[in-house]
């Protein structure tokens, strides 16, 4: 079991508001000005979750959605 048992999602130093807005604009989303600060403020959740999912693994550690070929 990981040592961080019980840890809640914690804030990290993440993307700036400008970086988040640039990423959303690159994605082609036309977001109302009023909503941009809120989305940017929530972006740290994505960074924290992404960080939590990255851990030392064997190179060959498979994802869950590898499937048998049809007919197997």
């Amino acid at each position: 079991m990981p040592k961080d048992k019980g840890e809640r999602i914690v804030k990290t130093q993440g993307m700036t508001r400008g970086e988040v807005e640039a990423a959303l604009a690159r994605a082609g989303l036309e977001i109302p000005e009023r909503e941009k600060p809120e989305i940017a403020a929530a972006a740290h959740f994505i960074e924290e979750m992404a960080a939590r999912l990255r851990r030392k693994r064997e190179m060959g550690a498979e994802p869950a959605h590898i499937f048998p070929p049809p007919g197997e």
Partner: protein
């Protein structure tokens, strides 16, 4: 005079004995909807004429000796992401407000073939994700136990309609807890079956690899009756499992004595701390199970935040892919909660998604190993009773790790069961989860618990609209 509240099992027995007419039952629910739903907003479309016609046909068939089973003549509601032939299926969204499917979803077809009568389409969080929202074409459903409170989501209308006795059962979908959350807040039994047990074909998707369809009803027995009709292999759904479907209702009468239960206390004591009344409700439920002859031991798993991170990243990535083109073209046609949450999906990289799916394999293996010598696990379904609408934030699903998401990640059957009420009369809930495709044990334990406790005899007090 048809009682205000009936379970599917009770109504089915009366219909079978010809002591209750499907027409009278359906008419009584339509009258109840007319009287109460102005306050609850659980329906976004009532199909009164169609339901009465179906009820008359059911009655004639039953009188002619053609009773199909315990769902014959039973009024149900469908979350408005379940496609219905010739009837708009909108996802509670302006984006699909004109969508009229050419076919029923497989699960809808199976329910109607079993004799269920569809009273209408029920409110949902927008595309089973955004919400509660006040900027959509229809208002959000309200909790029958206290209309200032949230129903939970995303199967919000089903939670409200079943709790209020407007329908006897309904359909939900569950990508991270959308059956179990509203079941918990509205005091129902809500079952998310194993991934693959019920066809997803014809249900608007949120996240392909996490989406589960399932029943919501007043009791575990009613969920068993609905699951019996809805379950089974469907070649149209690539995730559909080709496995035998047991007789769920018959298995309810099997012994629960000797069941081995793991209690995942860390999830709701440290990882997403439940309030005191919810913890006490769960502790009392554990005592009931021990009193029924089950053994309960502590079970420790990876932190809840790991399960939540895995599930949320997959959900955002898959959901964003589904809505990407429309978000680009019609961003403001979505409600604010949906669009702002889903916009975060644009920040999830391909690498993030694959890491999430690699973590998923690890977590599935961890859970399988942890329950090798167990039959069930117990944990919280929600950290508290239903909150007020104004206390639910736009990014609530990210702020605290979900207590229900672990079993979407594993694809295991999981169920919310009412385990008491607060001093203000709001429902409390416990979550039971089992081994993949062992819904029968989950339902059996839930049924035994319901019979051993008084909670199913308490219904909300409702005032006319």
């Amino acid at each position: 005079m048809v009682p205000d509240f009936l379970t599917i099992a009770e109504a089915g027995a009366l219909i079978a004995k010809r002591e209750l007419s499907p027409v009278e039952l359906v008419q009584s629910r339509l009258t109840r909807i007319e009287r109460l739903d102005g306050k609850l907003n659980s329906f976004i479309r009532v199909l009164a004429d169609e339901a009465l016609a179906a009820a008359r046909a059911a009655e004639a068939e039953i009188i002619a000796g053609g009773l199909r089973g315990p769902l014959h003549g039973i009024p149900v509601g469908l979350k408005d992401i379940y496609e219905t032939k010739g009837v708009p299926t909108t996802g509670h969204s302006k984006v699909m407000i004109d969508h009229v499917p050419a076919q029923d979803a497989t699960s809808v077809r199976r329910l109607t073939e079993a004799g269920a009568i569809v009273l209408g389409k029920l409110a949902t969080h927008e595309f089973a994700f955004g919400g509660p929202s006040f900027d959509l074409p229809w208002p959000p459903a309200r909790n029958p136990w206290d209309t200032s409170r949230f129903t939970g989501g995303s199967s919000s209308g089903t939670g409200a309609a079943v709790a209020a006795g407007l329908v006897l059962g309904g359909t939900g979908s569950d990508t991270g807890g959308s059956i179990r959350g509203p079941a918990a807040f509205c005091g129902l039994a809500g079952l998310k079956p194993s991934y693959g047990r019920i066809s997803r074909a014809g249900i608007l998707p949120l996240a392909f690899s996490l989406d589960h369809a399932g029943p919501m009803a007043w009791t575990a027995e009613d969920c068993a009756i609905m699951l019996q009709a809805m379950a089974g292999h469907d070649p149209i759904d690539p995730a559909s499992a080709d496995r035998p479907v047991p007789d769920y209702r018959a298995s309810l009468s099997n012994e629960v004595k000797g069941l081995r239960i793991g209690l995942i206390r860390d999830f709701y004591e440290t990882d997403n701390p439940a309030n005191e009344v919810m913890r006490q409700g769960i502790a009392n439920a554990v005592k009931v199970f021990e009193g029924l002859g089950c053994s309960v031991r502590e079970l420790r798993l990876s932190p809840l935040a790991d399960w939540a991170a895995c599930g949320v990243m997959i959900m955002l990535a898959e959901g964003y892919a589904i809505h990407e083109a429309t978000l680009r073209e019609r961003f403001v046609d979505y409600g604010e909660a949906f669009r702002d949450r889903m916009a975060l999906g644009a920040l999830v990289t391909g690498g993030d998604y694959v890491q999430a799916v690699r973590r998923r394999r690890e977590l599935i293996a961890e859970f399988a190993a942890a329950i090798t010598d167990l039959d069930l696990v117990i944990t919280a379904a929600a950290p508290s009773e239903a909150p007020t609408f104004d206390s639910v934030s736009k990014f609530a699903i990210l702020e605290r790790p979900s207590l229900t998401m672990p079993f979407n990640v594993t694809g295991s059957p999981a169920m919310s069961v009412c385990c008491g009420y607060t001093s203000a009369g709001l429902p409390l809930a416990v979550q039971l989860a089992g081994k993949p495709f062992d819904e029968a044990t989950v339902l059996r334990a839930a049924h035994a618990y319901e019979r051993a406790t008084p909670w199913r005899s308490i219904r909300p007090t409702l005032l006319p609209s």
